[in-house]
Symmetry: C2
Subunit: 278 residues, 2 copies
């Protein structure tokens, strides 16, 4: 496994490359969810292609007062995880931004709601760093988890609107046996909070059952979800929305392409999840 730590070297490496390459952008603290991204990347790269993983805890996408400082950075563990997973290139840059940086990629429609409302600047940071990674590694395709549904929709929009010649591949969320979506932030949870954290999945599946049963009122479905969340004493809703999966516009009545997306604080840890309803 090649390890590259500067933008100049990774760009030179990309220029020399002749094989197909598939990128898995991450912030490290790799878990089984990331391994699933790597597995799908390998499928798309082919046996002789390159699977590249980037690990970069991107300061631009942490809004002020959030967990940038305490975000886990288990460097040598991540390196071994990548090596064991058959990753060909690990890019963990130490020179991504100039102090006088002044150029940003901004998405102005899909970013307005959901996590974008709660995290000003977050998706500008995401779009900017992903655009940089695309230009640095020039992959043929890039893989993102569906767990971050809004992020995936925004990246797809960015690729469409800025014409990046890159295929975007979404990968279904990997869950623990009890339904909790895998996330690097799950390690912030204590045992009691971890037990309560299943409430996100339970709320979504209850809504899905009702939707499958014919309930079309988004208002009533969201009320049901709120009720389930309220049953966990350490859980506090940040948002629960039912939106169109592509343009993320809130729906009044359930219709094709509907997805439920939610963010819930469990203790001090903010967890997000989503489930396709139609």
């Amino acid at each position: 496994m090649k390890i590259i730590e500067t933008v100049g070297e990774v760009q030179a490496d990309a220029r020399e490359r002749t094989s197909r390459s598939v990128l898995v952008p991450t912030m490290g603290a790799l878990h089984r969810g990331h391994l699933e991204l790597v597995r799908v990347a390998r499928e798309h790269a082919g046996k002789d292609g390159e699977v590249a993983v980037s690990i970069f805890v991107n300061p631009l996408q942490f809004e002020p007062g959030s967990d940038f400082e305490k975000y886990p950075r288990p460097e040598s563990v991540d390196e071994n995880v990548c090596r064991d997973a058959g990753v060909n290139l690990l890019f963990r840059p130490n020179d991504m931004y100039f102090d006088d940086r002044s150029v940003y990629v901004e998405e102005t429609a899909l970013s307005a709601g959901l996590c974008g409302a709660a995290r000003p600047g977050h998706f500008r940071g995401v779009c900017t760093v992903v655009a940089k990674l695309f230009n640095l590694l020039a992959p043929d395709a890039a893989v993102f988890g569906e767990k971050d549904h809004q992020q995936l929709a925004i990246i797809r929009r960015m690729v469409r609107d800025l014409n990046f010649p890159i295929e975007i591949i979404g990968v279904p969320t990997v869950r623990e046996a009890d339904g909790l979506a895998l996330s690097s932030r799950n390690q912030y949870l204590n045992a009691d909070e971890r037990a309560q954290a299943t409430v996100l999945y339970r709320a979504m599946t209850r809504v899905k059952e009702l939707a499958d049963g014919g309930q079309k009122s988004v208002g009533e479905l969201i009320d049901v979800a709120k009720g389930v969340i309220a049953s966990a004493k350490s859980a506090r809703v940040d948002y629960i929305s039912i939106v169109d999966a592509d343009n993320l516009q809130p729906l009044g009545v359930l219709q094709p392409n509907a997805v439920i997306a939610l963010a819930v604080f469990v203790g001090k840890t903010r967890l997000i999840d989503n489930l396709r309803l139609w």
Copy 2:
């Protein structure tokens, strides 16, 4: 000469290309200034390389109320000019933007002053369309005129901050015999205005003489420039600034890397120009 009019075709063409490619982004209405850009592009592409010219009057970079509708579009003339100049690929897209576009590239520091102050949204439009062209044509290098000094500085900054793997080449301004910088907008001038339009170059060269003679006060140099502009009855200063050529910060005292940049209305036509002072 290959002519391509859709984003899908140009991206497919770029994928198949094996030669070096140098892009000249334009809005058409091609004049000798553009031909100089093409000549420099050929130098950098080499005999067997590709010189690509894009012609696209980009609505995003025209602020409301400006000359988007009346901007000249001599399509067949431009096509012949490109063919005669040995251009290999002419890209004149008809499908650059989706109606629900929502992703933009924004430069937030160098865009604040000079033309950026007078033309809100202009450089966002420029950065966005140039980023799209870079992704669509994947050139090895791109050529821009130094006449649009701020634009060139912003494009260089965009390439640096977003890590586009593309060399940016600035080309010295081409002038008429009397000093007027070539511009597609010069054709808006009537004969009398055309005669007065030399005042921009006369103001800049007078300032350069004084600077060469040891005048270091930017305030006094700008006053001299204003005096020269005032001598032309149809001329009205939009701005005159002496700034650092790279970060475009206004200078108080002349120092290395200084450039004078100005925008002047001659009649209703807004002309810009600049000259290196140090």
